[in-house]
């Protein structure tokens, strides 16, 4: 089968069961269905991570055309994509503070390069769990004031509140507001879920609440730095996703408040210096990729 050559690398090492491909990488487990007709992206069911058709993977957020990958990296096994520029990456990272800054910054540049490229081209796989979390998050964020229905549907997901849960959240009215601050010539941009006169709120949905993880993260610190606010509140919802139906149950709610502190600004500036150096460091790799792509053409 011609498609087999694409699955040989460690990046794509699925096992095929009936007409499904179960694709696993280091962190995720994806379910991909093989179709015999070109899929309409909007028609891909939410419980599927992607659809495979004619050597292409169709994700809900874009098409990953395997034939157009310039090559598979022999070391990492990850797909390399052409037409990526440093400016593009810089713009991408600037616009995706949540995903990149505090996760990727301290890590070694090379191991994250391909991830950034894939993210840049919107190839990031959205697992079923992520989609369910997004549905809950979106609904909560848009609900300015009022009571969440105990059973409702949003984005194709049936969202149910556990009977035992009874919480009252104070959320500022200003929702989804972009905020920015410059560090040298780098614009650090972030979108707050809710922002008030002295606080920023961030809504999280997760299947396993780990408070230390939130306390350790750079996210809250960078948001306080950008917005000039003093208090950051994580509104954390624990959700349980049904394996077989598009049903999410909100099981628990926890709140973590964190504060601006002495020395926060200096720590952030240090981390942004690292970030700036990181951008400079990956530039040659991008140029090399572009060069290789041009030669191929």
């Amino acid at each position: 089968m011609s498609q087999q050559r694409h699955w040989k690398s460690s990046y794509m090492s699925p096992s095929r069961i009936d007409n499904y491909i179960y694709h696993r990488d280091a962190e995720h487990y994806y379910q991909v269905e093989i179709w015999d007709k070109p899929p309409d992206i909007n028609a891909i069911p939410q419980w599927l991570d992607a659809v495979y058709y004619d050597d292409c993977l169709y994700f809900t957020r874009g098409i990953y055309d395997l034939d157009n990958c310039s090559e598979i990296d022999s070391n990492s096994g990850e797909a390399m994509i052409n037409n990526v520029t440093i400016a593009g990456i810089r713009e991408f990272i600037n616009e995706n503070i949540d995903d990149c800054i505090y996760e990727g910054l301290r890590a070694e540049a090379e191991s994250h390069l391909n991830k950034f490229i894939c993210d840049l081209l919107k190839l990031k796989l959205q697992s079923r769990n992520m989609l369910a979390g997004i549905a809950v998050h979106e609904y909560l964020e848009k609900l300015l004031i009022g009571e969440l229905p105990s059973d409702f549907t949003h984005n194709g997901w049936q969202i149910i509140t556990d009977d035992k849960l009874n919480v009252e959240l104070e959320l500022p009215l200003n929702r989804e507001q972009w905020c920015e601050r410059y560090f040298g010539d780098i614009k650090i941009l972030g979108k707050t879920d809710c922002i008030g006169i002295s606080q920023v709120n961030d809504i999280k949905t997760t299947s396993d609440i780990k408070i230390e993880k939130y306390m350790e993260s750079w996210q809250w610190q960078i948001y306080l730095w950008i917005t000039g606010r003093n208090k950051f509140v994580y509104n954390i919802f624990e959700i349980d996703i049904n394996k077989y139906t598009d049903k999410v149950t909100i099981k628990d709610y926890q709140e973590l408040t964190l504060y601006r502190y002495k020395g926060m600004e200096e720590r952030i500036i240090n981390i942004l210096h690292e970030y700036s150096n990181y951008l400079d460091m990956i530039k040659p790799h991008i140029d090399k990729l572009k060069e290789a792509t041009n030669e191929k053409k």
């Binding site: 909560l140 009571e147 909100i250 002495k262």
Partner: protein, 301 residues
């Protein structure tokens, strides 16, 4: 049961706070805690005898004694000290197993369900003490480990209950000593976690024998700082209330449109949202092209 979202309105004056101090054995945690205002020490770890200061203390070996505590028992005290929270949770865990055998294994450890019950019981007890209008100091040992090739210290307590400590603390500080003396750091660092509602610098802890109200003063400063922030909120709340009163007088689309041109509305997203919500509620929609409010359904001729 439900999840309800409300707008932050009431400004809460902070009268009592929860402070967590963690550190290695011998760092001086108990001595420091005893410099709080009118303290009562619940000594779970037999640490009292090594402390530099003396204060009323209860040596606890059975949870039942604590479970029966009421507001009257604590009338004379302003600060309740738990020393250490890790040991307290162990004792609470043992007590829970005696009340429900399903919560424990034959080896005496808690089951998964037991850990859940422990978190719930701890949270409820702490809430009860706070409801008596007492400050609470939680003392904990530090646990060292490695993360990304770096040495880190974290609070030593069991699972979900540790999360409760993190969440309920207004101040969370790591107490450490070196050749220059004892330092209390409420600021997060690469090594330790922290919560610093008062934006304190790294504090050099004096000999508490010579400064017997050291932590009491720190805690008072923290409350003052939190309440000064509340004053800003109070002012804002007043502005929003006045704006809402003005909105209540608007009746025509033209009046709503006129409000969109005012600088104080243009520059304030919350005011913009309130204006739009009010306009929509009485049947006007904003037309982005004409930049005017218009009736939702065309007026009958």
């Amino acid at each position: 049961m439900a999840i309800k979202i409300i707008q932050p309105t009431d400004v809460i004056i902070t009268e009592n706070i929860v402070v967590t101090v963690y550190g290695n054995p011998g760092a001086g945690k108990t001595s420091l805690a005893l410099s709080a205002k009118k303290p009562l020490l619940f000594d779970f770890d037999n640490g009292m005898q090594r402390a530099l200061l003396r204060a009323p203390a209860v040596r606890v070996s059975n949870w039942k004694e604590l479970d029966l505590l009421n507001a009257d028992d604590l009338l004379e005290y302003d600060t309740i000290i738990i020393d250490t929270v890790g040991r307290m949770l162990e004792i609470l865990g043992q007590y829970l197993i005696t009340t429900n055998s399903k919560l424990g294994r034959s080896t005496g450890e808690l089951t998964l369900q037991g850990y859940g019950a422990l978190g719930t019981a701890f949270k409820a007890w702490l809430k009860k003490i706070i409801s008596y209008k007492k400050d609470v100091i939680l003392i904990a040992h530090a646990k060292e480990s490695t993360q990304n090739d770096m040495n880190i210290v974290r609070l030593d307590a069991m699972g979900a209950s540790k999360d409760e400590v993190y969440k309920c603390s207004d101040l969370l500080g790591f107490l450490d000593s070196d050749s220059q003396g004892v330092k209390l750091n409420f600021n997060p660092t690469d090594k330790s976690l922290g919560k610093n509602c008062a934006q304190f610098d790294v504090l050099s802890v004096p000999n508490v024998k010579l400064n017997k109200t050291y932590l009491a003063d720190i805690m008072q400063q923290a409350k003052d700082k939190m309440n000064s922030l509340s004053e800003d909120q109070l002012k804002r709340q007043k502005d929003v209330a006045e704006f809402e009163e003005q909105l209540a007088t608007l009746t025509t689309a033209e009046e709503f449109t006129e409000f969109t041109t005012f600088d104080f509305v243009k520059n304030d997203l919350e005011f913009k949202i309130l204006l739009n919500t009010k306009a929509t509620s009485i049947g006007f929609n904003y037309n982005k092209e004409s930049k005017c409010y218009e009736p939702t359904t065309p007026l009958e001729k």
